[in-house]
Amino acid sequence: MDAVIRAIFGYIFLLFIVRVVGRRPGRQMTPFEFVLIFFIGGLTLSGMVGDDRSLTNALVQIVTIAVMHFLIAWLRSHSIRFGLIADGTPLVLLEKGKWRKHTMRKMALQDDDVMAAARDKGLERLDQIEFAVLERNAEISIIAVREKN
């Protein structure tokens, strides 16, 4: 019973903190993200496991996390509102040659973050971007300016 409660609390708390800390773009994790993920994960683990190092405790907690994950995924697919809370919403960063300044500031993004994603698409300059969107998985999608016929 105790193990299940600790696992549920740890899972929800971790989800909440990671959601609040925010998304940073990029397919590769920077050292900042490495530190964040491993440190928070490790610290949560010590509280969740407590002094019960048994296989039973580990199995119960793994099953609890699996059930919680399924539950969150189910809620996300059945409620748009819950999906927004759990994952956030895609955000337009650049729209037809104009930055969304407030969004960029609030998401702690710089123009070079957008340019890094643009280079990945084979673009060379910012003015070649029609739209840049910060996706829910923290990647930046780039839609290039269409060539006029």
């Binding site: 609040v20 002094d51 927004l84 956030g88 919403t89 895609p90 729209e95 609030k106 739209f131 839609i143």
Partner: protein, 179 residues
């Protein structure tokens, strides 16, 4: 059961930007989320400050002392402790606590059970269980002496405990054990 896959026509269900690309951006929700995040950061900062002050144990606010009016005993302890985390309760015994070269210190059962007493320093001459607690007997001189209890709480929540020298005032304390 039909072998045909379950299908549905595609609708424009994802919100578009400039009626061009389907992004699904919900800026109204995001603005509310940013406002919520601001509140969360304030709360997290307060939690950190309270922790630094010791409101969750192991700090200035957690430390407490209690003295008997007859000066037989002073107790230094933590009023906020943490589950399964070591904590020391120190009992300073005054000269009036010594009788015939011995000190008889009674502690309530909660100190041994809920607060998880691991050991008594120094080792007592004897310990007798009874009256809802344990009576420890120590050999002592006339000089003030100190006895320590190494605690490791095994139960969360508020815990009441009492201790005192036999024949003197009994001190009552409340300790909160953080999960």
């Amino acid at each position: 059961m039909s072998s045909q896959p379950d299908t549905e026509h595609v609708h424009d269900s994802v919100a578009q930007v400039d009626n061009e690309i389907a992004v699904g951006e919900d800026l109204e929700f995001q603005r509310k989320w940013w406002a919520f995040e601001n509140v969360v950061w304030v709360v997290l900062t307060l939690v950190l400050l309270l922790d630094l002050l010791g409101a969750f144990g192991r700090g200035y606010l957690a430390n407490a002392t209690l003295s008997a009016k007859d000066e037989s005993v002073d107790v230094r302890y933590e009023r906020i402790v943490r589950f399964k985390t070591p904590s020391i309760l120190t009992v300073d015994l005054g000269p009036t606590a010594v009788r015939e070269g011995k000190i008889r210190l009674w502690v309530s059962e909660s100190l041994l059970t809920d607060l998880g007493n691991q050991r008594v320093i120094p080792q007592p001459l004897s310990s007798v269980v009874g009256d809802g607690g344990t009576l420890y007997t120590f050999e002592a001189t006339d000089h003030p002496t100190t006895v320590q209890f190494a605690l490791e709480p095994s139960k969360t929540g508020t815990c009441k405990m009492s201790l005192g020298v036999r024949g003197h005032e009994l001190l009552h304390m409340k300790v909160f054990v953080m999960p």
